[in-house]
């Protein structure tokens, strides 16, 4: 497979930023096992998964800490891994417009640069922890752009996460009042996933399919159960999985592969 470490200037962020991009292509494994490589030809277009990092992370995390390249090649999917600092993928109150970068500028750049399908049915977004929230947030905000979204160990109940961190029950690097105009009033705002899902439904949007997975020993497990129930109550097309595991790369590596399989076969 082809790995592209790409540095680009973002007119939205107004600085240079990095992305890692995996493009399926024939590799040594295909040669050794005599796999069919006829899929790779001039004019080929692949589905695309935007894959988001968690808090403390950047564009390099998924590549370094999971077998994402192997999964991308197996499922014949382009994977684009951007950086968003500790922004919760928001257009920040004090900071940068990461949501705009992720949902508008980066897709326009990628569509021009890489051989990818551009319709919503082949455009996916996923992430872990902060990136799990980010994936659902960006997908619910743009249901016309993303056909499905993935949350692994996602900080989906952001109000609850905020309160846990405020009360010192959870460690986190977030500058809440830089990210949100009023962190005390996230619930019911356009930063609240459940509110966003409700509004999308009320507006008659076809909402993205959701794959949600969380480790049963993860500190965010119970919060995930609550999020699942609330989304299901609203009729979300949601596939839920849980497995033994904690908030770590063992869990995310094992389950991003499952999630990508789900993207392809559902």
């Amino acid at each position: 497979m082809a790995l592209l470490q790409c540095n680009l200037f973002s007119g939205t962020l107004c600085f240079g930023t990095d992305i890692n991009v995996i493009i399926p292509s024939p590799d040594s494994d295909d040669i050794l096992h005599k796999k069919n490589i006829s899929y790779f030809h001039k004019g080929v277009k692949f589905p695309v998964l935007y894959l988001l990092h968690g808090a403390y992370g950047d564009y390099s995390d998924w590549l370094r800490l999971s077998k994402i390249e192997a999964y991308a090649n197996e499922h014949k999917m382009i994977v684009i891994m951007p950086s968003a600092s500790n922004s919760f993928y928001q257009d920040m109150e004090y900071g940068s417009d990461y949501e705009t970068y992720m949902t508008e500028e980066l897709p326009a750049f990628a569509q021009q640069m890489f051989p990818m399908l551009t319709d919503r049915e082949h455009t996916f977004i996923g992430g872990l922890s902060m990136g799990g929230y980010g994936a659902l947030k960006l997908a619910f905000d743009n249901p016309d752009k993303y056909g499905a979204c993935i949350s692994l160990s996602g900080a989906l109940d952001i109000q609850g996460v905020y309160e846990d961190i405020r009360e010192g029950r959870m460690e986190a690097p977030f500058l809440w009042d830089a990210i949100f105009s009023d962190p005390e009033r996230i619930q019911g705002s356009d930063k609240d996933l459940f509110e966003l899902y409700k509004i999308g439904g009320e507006q008659g949007c076809i909402m993205p399919r959701i794959f949600q997975s969380c480790g049963t020993e993860d500190f965010i497990y119970h919060s995930n159960l609550g999020a699942r129930d609330r989304l299901m109550e609203m009729g979300a097309d949601l596939t839920y999985e849980e497995h033994p595991g904690i908030h770590d790369w063992n869990y995310w590596d094992a389950n991003i592969g499952r999630a990508m399989e789900w993207l392809i076969y559902n």
Partner: protein
Amino acid sequence: MAHIQLNFYSALLKKNTNVMVFIPSIGPDDYLFGSEEKFNLTNMKYQVLYLLHGSYDDYTSWSRNSKIECYAQEKCLAVVMPSAENSAYLNMYKGEAYQDYIANELPEFLETILPISTRREDSFIAGLSMGGGGAFRFALTFPEKYQAAASLSGGLHMGILKNCTHLDKMPENYMRAVYGDKKYSDVIELLDEVKSEVLPPLYMICGTEDFIFPSNESFYKKALDKKIPITYETARGVHCWDFWDEHIRDVLNWMPLKEQMV
């Protein structure tokens, strides 16, 4: 301005290989001064310069030691910088087929994954030292693939040089892998076989204080004898990046570039 380090499996080299790729796209100046729209052309591609490193160098050398990215951005030109070890851009006697890789596999691969044209009229090739020799070797061997080729301080007639450190310090077993029993294969020899009417125009420049200067003089003289379409410039300078960074701009100005997406 998209600066891409690409790693992929080359079926011809039978191993993973790195390529530095520059693709023009908006940069700070385009944002600040409102020239973003020239890059937002769906289904358009870029003209491309294959830019070859010298001996003892690799795919990182041009982007580390020159401002090629700035110059290419101005010209709306994609730049592809592959690695070819010290192969002289030949298909090695016992080793990798770098010539076929760069002439055939790499352009096709890049066309599949990036907005890079493979048409002859959009494809250019240049290099320094061993890569200058390489650029002319590609142009003379595959004239149907390149619109123009340029050599900076090129290793064009190594046989004329006495006491060439660049050759003398090369490991003997590597030289055997490249050339077999021959000592080396000189680019100038290709002039005996070419038909000038189908050749892409050539441009060569060399520093007058460069140890490789005699090999450029000699090549140019023979090219004139053979009525090859060639432009030759000399300038004060030695075999160094100051020279190449300055004169790659002359190369880009000489090449018939469209300076827009195609």
